[in-house]
Amino acid sequence: MSSSDFAIEVRGLRKSYGDLEAVRGIDFSVRRGEVFGLLGPNGAGKTTTVEILEGYRERTAGDVSVLGFDPQERARELRSRVGIVLQSSGIYRHVKVREVLEHFAGFYPDPRDVDEVIELAGLRGKEEARTRTLSGGQLRRLDFALALVGDPELIFLDEPTTGFDPAARRGAWDTIRSLKALGKTVLLTTHYLDEAQVLADRVAIVKDGRILVEGAPSELGVGSGAVRYRVAWRNGSGLLNQQETDDPTTFLHELTSAALARGEKLESLSVSRPTLEDVYLELTA
């Protein structure tokens, strides 16, 4: 695979603040068009990593390439090709939604249509509202809109749905899915494992400034022995049984042949793969 197939490449990234080593040697690559999730507890080094990629911080060591640029050189062309949703950032209080979007659109060589962005971010009906009258969720949608208005190839989303109610989270997920459908690359950090499971093509779990494991959310940790499949069923008397196993094929074969031999049906039989949450809790505990 040639390097141009990657939107982001990180090799041996380190960042220290004085004596504190926030990032201690991180490697990962994000393919173009991929949604990549960085997961991890607070203080794991996710935001530091993302802010180095965004050009806000200078690294202590390692190689970083974002769309072929070194982000800490802060090339204007790079900034016009990425969109950034920061973990928290405010906006002017005395400005209207459409007005501020049109203002930001003017920064970019080839911006997206402002009406399209309003639609995509779910701000229809709020175009003429002053920003100081918007709710927290609406302001977050404005963050999305401001990050998308330059029609970026690569979008950084740092905990984009923290503090959202469930309906608002679904709305944000739809927006992120539309970005993927448009062929955009997305680097997402999140605390929410279901969010990563649903949205990300691949995830990396970060703890203490290192990546513990990386892969597709549904395959993560499987076969490593760290986490096991769970089989559940009701026996003849209706009692619920559960069993964890590394080898669901053999286990199911034995379970079902025994039931058939007894002439029983196994009600509610299910096999579940370890969820991202199981893997996460196992690894970060």
Binding site: S89, V95, E99, F104, G106, Y108, P109, D110
Partner: protein, 254 residues
């Protein structure tokens, strides 16, 4: 792939400037403290001193000097602090607008207020307060420009010391109010006790008012104001160094 051209530096500066102008009038407290207050004070003191031309000759350039300070120093200290703490500065830093275009747009907005006030004060001086058109308009321009650069840089420098939005008025007024009293906005600085006069001599506003007084009232030439220009330039150098050195695009973590 055909690359679309980046917007020009000038067009981005203009764009930022226009947004600042539009937002300014929607914010009543900024509009009052940074724009209306000097005009209100001019009307009040003008009324108090009416009939005494000697006092009016002091108050008109004095208020002009104060206006330079409130439209640049106070306004930028508030504005830069608020944008930093709100996260606007950090957000802007993540977009392709060049920092210089962004900051020039903001400064241009402040300077527009200064220019408008100079015109309003000059016209009011002529119409209501018996002060003729400035005998030396070029000298007035020189001092307004010097004052704008000096007090803008000091205002940005002050914003670096202000820890958060809530405390901005306290920091700004703790400097602004004593400054306008000591520097002779409301009376002739020559009439004050010597220890105050000594302090006043060291402060930039005193010298800005001296220069404006020469330009707007007495007509004494710029050659007589070299020492005032020197003091203003010295403060400007200090202001620029501090404004650049302490600049932070991110909110203070507190």
């Amino acid at each position: 792939m055909i690359e679309a051209a980046q917007p020009s530096f000038a067009s981005l500066t203009w764009r930022q400037y226009r947004l600042e102008r539009r937002m300014f009038w929607r914010n009543p407290s900024a509009a009052f403290f940074n724009f209306m207050l000097p005009l209100v004070l001019l009307a009040l003191f003008g009324a108090v001193f009416s009939g005494n031309q000697e006092d009016l000759d002091v108050i008109v350039p004095g208020i002009a000097g104060m206006s330079v300070v409130s439209t640049t120093f106070s306004a930028l200290a508030y504005n830069v602090t608020a944008m930093r703490e709100l996260g606007v500065l950090k957000r802007m830093r993540g977009t392709p607008i060049p920092s210089g275009a962004f900051l020039l747009g903001i400064a241009g907005h402040a300077i527009t207020n200064t220019a408008l006030q100079m015109v309003l004060i000059t016209v009011a001086g002529k119409l209501f307060f018996g002060v003729d058109w400035p005998p030396n308009p070029l000298e007035m321009v020189v001092f307004v420009v010097l004052g704008v650069v000096c007090f803008s840089s000091l205002g940005v420098a002050l914003s670096h010391v202000i820890p958060n939005n809530e405390s901005a008025p306290a920091y700004v007024n703790a400097i602004f109010l004593p400054l306008i009293i000591v520097s002779g906005v409301f009376y002739d600085a020559a009439d004050v006790p010597s220890f105050l006069a000594g302090i006043a001599e060291a402060l930039p506003l005193t010298h800005l008012i001296d220069g404006l007084s020469a330009a707007m009232v007495t007509g004494s030439g710029i050659g007589d104001q070299i020492s005032s220009i020197g003091v203003l330039v010295a403060w400007t150098v200090l202001g620029v160094v501090l404004a650049i050195r302490g600049f932070s695009w991110e909110a203070r973590r507190s």
